[in-house]
């Protein structure tokens, strides 16, 4: 590999080590939903996210656990740990019914 390429590669690695990107929460949220909520809610993630517009999800962000319980009464409390809620929110917001986004099936 020539010197220029080595330099470019080293710079790319150094740059990537120097940055931390907030983990793709929508994707994580979709996975968490499938694991923790799908059975209790009885619907896939796309349907759940489409329950609200982005504005509506934003307005319940502070009480997301309660909102999920309202939509999915059978959900267990351990599925609503605070460390999950941010990811759930990011997923629901990204695929809300007015987002124009279509989650992969």
């Amino acid at each position: 590999m020539n010197r220029l390429l080595k330099l470019a590669l080293t710079s790319a690695v150094a740059l990537s080590l120097a940055t931390t990107v907030a983990s793709a929460s929508a994707a994580k949220g979709q996975k968490l939903y499938a694991k923790k909520l799908k059975k209790a809610c009885g619907m896939n993630g796309a349907k759940m996210a489409a329950k609200h517009t982005q504005d509506e999800w934003e307005s319940v962000k502070g009480n997301l656990a309660d909102e999920i319980k309202k939509i999915c009464p059978k959900v267990k409390s351990k599925s609503l740990k605070s460390k999950y809620l941010g990811h759930y929110y990011d997923f629901f917001y990204e695929f809300a019914n007015d987002s124009g986004n279509v989650p992969s099936c």
Binding site: A12, L17, V21, K36, K39
Partner: protein, 476 residues
């Protein structure tokens, strides 16, 4: 009395005035709060609008899609009374229509188009780098844009009145980048299971989600079918009769593939995936043809027979339940696969006239990178037996499909986001072949010889292959 009345009146007047100003103040205060709230909402709306403007500014084409799948049944009756036919000519046509009104008096219109028979042509005998099954996975020296996937998907929540959600789809399938092979790219899986099928493919799929009507959590069943090779005279190529698109008896038959994917269990964390597929009229060179091709001369493919592929994959997305963050965020999978040939009469598949069975084992894990907060580390290992033959020619490994290896392959990779849209991927892949023919076609070119035997016979096949890859990917 007068004084009392005046005094009383004055007190009443004073009281009324005081009461009125309190009321007005309260109402004013309420209105101020409402105005503040409205101002906040307006600020938010403007912010959103600006985001939309930034997103769409410079977006000077409006697209619409016109995608058509066609089945033609063709018959030509010739002057001498004979007929030329094509019972089922399958094709996909994609029109991407563009338009934009730049100003009142000027509008742009355009159409990008793609019109292709299903699969590759059975008459193709060179230029395999652009063979239909791998045409978008091949890094070549031309600048052509090709269609990798194009399909519509119909979805419905009930099937014949039952609580079975289902989908149907026709087109150029999402049949590369399937389960297992997707992790090293940081991608979501596509339709196929990467341990047996990883090729571009024109066809159909139907899926039924049966978890609401069976006791099987998350269960679903998908039927897939399509055509990998089309036998038809191309336009203006039947110089004898002018019977365009009729079958050409000089070439091998259409090659079709059918199969199913059945997931009997998926609780969102642990899942089991199975796949069975069968492809018929597969092509390869016989010994004479292979000799000719190796000598730089063209040779015709033969219809050498059929193949059956099957696989089972067990996957865990997160290990345990809250043991620790590391295990919660680790993905692991293991897969066992089998291939079985059925040679056609008087033909040899993979160098043998009798049916041969091959097997492959694949295990992999992807975990959080211990030295960064957002990186991912992955390791994979697979081993294939002497007669192992997968349909993974479209795998994105430049030294050849590691899954197809009749030998051992190991791989390690590091995925590191740089920004929201840029990711760095470092990957090391090593394949150690035990036998030749891992990525050959289905005839003599797929014959397995030990590397030393092949070398002793005067050949010089690849013994080991290594690929160290660094890539930066923009995806947003």
């Amino acid at each position: 009395m007068k004084k009392t009345i005046i005094a009383l009146s004055a007190v009443t007047a004073l009281a009324t005035t005081s009461f009125g100003s309190t009321d007005i103040d309260a109402r004013l205060s309420k209105m101020e709060k409402k105005i503040k709230k409205l101002e906040k909402k307006l600020k938010k709306s403007n912010k959103k609008l600006n985001k939309v403007k930034a997103h769409d500014a410079g977006d000077n084409i409006k697209w619409d899609v016109d995608f058509r799948s066609t089945l033609d049944n063709i018959t030509y009756k010739l002057a001498d009374g004979t007929t030329k036919k094509k019972g089922s000519l399958l094709s996909n046509r994609l029109l991407l229509n563009m338009k934009f009104k730049a100003e009142d008096t000027v509008t742009f219109y355009g159409t990008l188009a793609y019109n292709k028979l299903y699969g590759a042509s059975t008459g193709q005998n060179n230029g395999f780098e652009n063979f239909d099954w791998v045409t978008n996975e091949t890094a070549s020296t031309d600048n052509n844009l090709r269609v990798k996937e194009a399909y519509w998907l119909y979805a419905n929540d009930t099937f014949m009145g039952k609580d079975i959600s289902w989908t149907a789809s026709i087109g150029r399938r999402p049949s590369t980048g399937g389960l297992g092979i997707n992790y090293r790219e940081g991608d979501k899986r596509k339709s196929a299971i990467g341990s047996t099928v990883n090729v571009e493919f024109d066809g159909v799929s139907l899926r039924w989600n049966i978890d609401q009507v069976t006791p099987l959590p998350g269960a679903w069943f998908k039927f897939c079918g399509g055509r990998g090779l089309t036998n038809a005279y191309q336009r203006f190529n039947d110089t004898t009769n002018g019977a365009d698109y009729s079958s050409n008896s000089a070439l091998t038959k259409d090659s079709n593939m059918i199969g199913f994917i059945f997931v009997p269990y998926d609780d969102g964390q642990y899942s089991v995936h199975t796949n069975w597929a069968q492809a018929d009229h597969l092509i390869g060179y016989d010994n004479a043809g292979l000799q000719a091709v190796m000598g730089g001369n063209p040779a015709a493919f033969k219809d050498v027979g059929d193949i059956t592929l099957s696989t089972v994959v067990v996957k865990a997305e997160g290990i345990g339940d809250g043991i620790n963050d590391f295990l919660d965020d680790t993905i692991a999978f293991v897969s066992f696969s089998q291939s079985k040939t059925s040679p056609a009469d008087n033909q040899a598949m993979l160098g043998s006239t009798s049916s041969k069975t091959g097997t492959s084992f694949w295990i992999g894990a992807q975990m959080p990178c211990p030295i960064t907060d957002d990186g991912r580390l992955g390791i994979e290992y697979n081993k294939g037996s002497k007669y192992w033959r997968s349909m993974t020619y479209g795998e994105d490994t430049v030294v050849g499909s590691k899954i197809a290896a009749r030998g051992t392959a190991i791989e390690a990779y590091w995925l590191k986001p740089i920004t929201k849209s840029l990711t760095l991927n470092l990957r090391y892949t090593k394949i150690d072949y035990d036998y030749t023919g891992s990525n050959g076609f289905f005839g003599a070119g797929g014959t397995p010889m030990s590397i030393s035997d092949a070398h002793n016979a005067g050949m010089n096949p690849v013994d080991k292959a290594t690929d160290i890859r660094a890539s930066i990917r923009y995806k947003f």
